[in-house]
Symmetry: C2
Subunit: 153 residues, 2 copies
Amino acid sequence: MPRPTLRPEAAGARAQGLHTIGDAAEATAVSAKMIRHYESIRLMPTAGRTFAGYRLYAESDLHRLRFIKRARTLGFSIKEIEQLLSLWDDRRRASSEVKQLALQHARALEQKIREMESMRATLTDLARRCHGDSHPDCPILEDLAGTGRKATN
Amino acid sequence: MPRPTLRPEAAGARAQGLHTIGDAAEATAVSAKMIRHYESIRLMPTAGRTFAGYRLYAESDLHRLRFIKRARTLGFSIKEIEQLLSLWDDRRRASSEVKQLALQHARALEQKIREMESMRATLTDLARRCHGDSHPDCPILEDLAGTGRKATN
DNA sequence: GCTTGACCCTCCCATGATGGGAGACATCAT
DNA sequence: ATGATGTCTCCCATCATGGGAGGGTCAAGC
């Protein structure tokens, strides 16, 4: 259910322990821009408003924002966070689904790490073999152009 | 200088050793879509055309596309590739600039790898401590919600 | 010749997460 | 009352890539 419009001014709202979007942003390290965005994609519930149309946030909203922030920091996508939040909202659910999501994401990270590690190894190998002086010969360009010995990756 | 329109039909063009965009895509593993895109952002020169407007590619164009492809595979951004290509086009230039670019990119990769490795470690640690059965308790959700012991990351 | 299927063309839209900025209104402190 | 913030909505940009619509072109088979 959409929440009712609350007290007319921000001052009154704050007296009720509610926060404006700026306060919420500071308290959760999620930018006001992103808070609005999360509401627009329904990751956050429709925020209550003052008479003037300012969004208002309660502590539970801040919790949710911190949850999202932490999950983003761990690299979860918005879609994955939607799932995590729904599991969080319904604590009766088994933890196996959460574990599944976490391990799946960890495996995805591992995969990306391996790819990037391979790139890094190739690059440092090529750079090591590149004089880096005024010589025009450069194994790096030769590799990119397909005309030189391949890097050891 | 923009290249002149060449022979009227694709058949004639092929007889001159030229390739249509589909051929070029297959030969370089760069999609036709991306080849057009690279032309639009001037990473590739304006392609010659048949009378009917079909783009035509010579071997040197395929070389350039393969160079781009390889550099993308190594994770270079388009802007970095622009620089690499200009260094490649002007072989008289010192190789130190190329080496600089490569090492700089390798460092950026290292940084990202470290970040992702940290995420992965946190996740596997949390998952290890999560029963993953029908219990509702879940260290993963507790971490995200900020209500549990922190993961060892 | 005519049809058919495989090309190719341009133009627009979408992704995912985030930021920037304009123009207008609200609130707050002086 | 006035000026400095704060907030509102709406639009645009990023980066690399793909999808698709609507329409023209080419080659092969009949």
